[in-house]
C-alpha cells in the first residue's frame, strides 16, 4: 500500500472528528490533528481506535504518544502493517 492510498483511507477517519472542515480539504503529511484540524483531544482516542479497525492493526501506547499528525500516523500504520 503506498502513501497516497494510506492517506486516502486515513482521511475519512480524521474528517469525522475534525472541527475545522476546511483544513480537511487540504490534508497532507504535515497536517497536525490538533493544531490544524482542531480535533478534540478526547477524540484522538477515536481516531486511534478507528485506525486500528480500518487497518486491522494494534497501536501500542508508545506509538499512540506520537500520533499527533498525518505523517506520524502513516509511519505507525506502515510499521504495524509490516509486522502483521
Amino acid at each position: 500500500m503506498d502513501r497516497a492510498e494510506l492517506i486516502a483511507r486515513l482521511t475519512p477517519i480524521i474528517a469525522t472528528y475534525a472541527q475545522d472542515k476546511d483544513a480537511v480539504a487540504s490534508i497532507n503529511e504535515t497536517t497536525d490533528f490538533i493544531k490544524d484540524l482542531k480535533i478534540n483531544s478526547a477524540n484522538l482516542v477515536d481516531v486511534i481506535l478507528d485506525v486500528e479497525e480500518e487497518f486491522d492493526i494494534e497501536i501500542d501506547n508508545l506509538s499512540m504518544e506520537r500520533m499527533l499528525n498525518v505523517n506520524a500516523a502513516i509511519e505507525i500504520i506502515e510499521d504495524k502493517l509490516k509486522t502483521k
Binding site: 478534540n40 483531544s41 478526547a42 477524540n43 484522538l44 482516542v45 477515536d46 486511534i48 481506535l49 486500528e52 501506547n61 499512540m64 504518544e65 506520537r66 500520533m67 499527533l68
Partner: protein, 154 residues
C-alpha cells in the same frame, strides 16, 4: 504554573462515546477504570478524571514544550470527592500536579498546579457567553469546550 480544562457535559455526549470498546483502555489505567465502573456516576467520573489529566498535561507541555498523546502516563490519584468538588493529584513521569475540580450538571472543570497553595490563590471565571475581548484580560490559562469558556487568573 497553572493549567485548566473544562468539559461541557452535553457536548461530551455528542462528541465521545466512552463506552466504545477499547476506549477506556487507551486512556485510563486499571485503578482509574475501577473508579469509573464501580460508582453510580460513571460518565461524570470519566470526564472528571479526563479533565484532571488534561489540566496537568497542559502544564507539562507548556513547561517542556513536549507534545505527546499519552493519557496513560498521566496517573490520577488521591481523588477525594465531596459534594460538587474534588481534589486530587496527577503524576506524570517524575512530576506531580495538584488538582481541584468543580462540577455541576452542565460541566466539569479542573485546575492544576505544581504548587498546592497556588490553587487557593487563583480566580476562575466560567461563562457560556464568552466576551470577544477575553484575551485582553490576560488569563493565565484558557480552556474552551462546547458552550463553555473557562479562564483562570493568577
Amino acid at each position: 504554573m497553572i493549567g485548566n480544562d473544562i468539559v461541557d457535559l452535553e457536548q461530551a455526549v455528542i462528541d465521545s462515546n466512552w463506552k466504545r470498546k477499547g476506549y477506556l483502555d487507551k486512556i485510563f489505567n486499571n485503578e482509574e477504570q475501577f473508579m469509573i465502573t464501580s460508582g453510580i456516576c460513571s460518565s461524570l467520573m470519566v470526564w472528571l478524571l479526563w479533565s484532571m489529566k488534561e489540566s496537568a498535561y497542559k502544564i507539562y507541555s507548556r513547561e517542556t514544550k513536549i507534545r505527546e498523546f499519552a493519557p496513560l502516563k498521566l496517573k490520577c490519584n488521591n481523588l477525594i470527592i465531596y459534594n460538587d468538588k474534588a481534589t486530587g493529584k496527577v503524576s506524570y513521569e517524575d512530576e506531580v500536579y495538584f488538582t481541584e475540580s468543580n462540577f455541576d450538571k452542565n460541566y466539569v472543570h479542573t485546575i492544576a498546579s505544581t504548587k498546592q497553595e497556588e490553587l487557593e490563590k487563583v480566580r476562575v471565571k466560567i461563562t457560556d457567553q464568552a466576551p470577544p475581548d477575553y484575551k485582553m484580560t490576560n488569563p493565565n490559562s484558557v480552556s474552551h469546550h462546547g458552550a463553555y469558556l473557562a479562564l483562570v487568573y493568577l
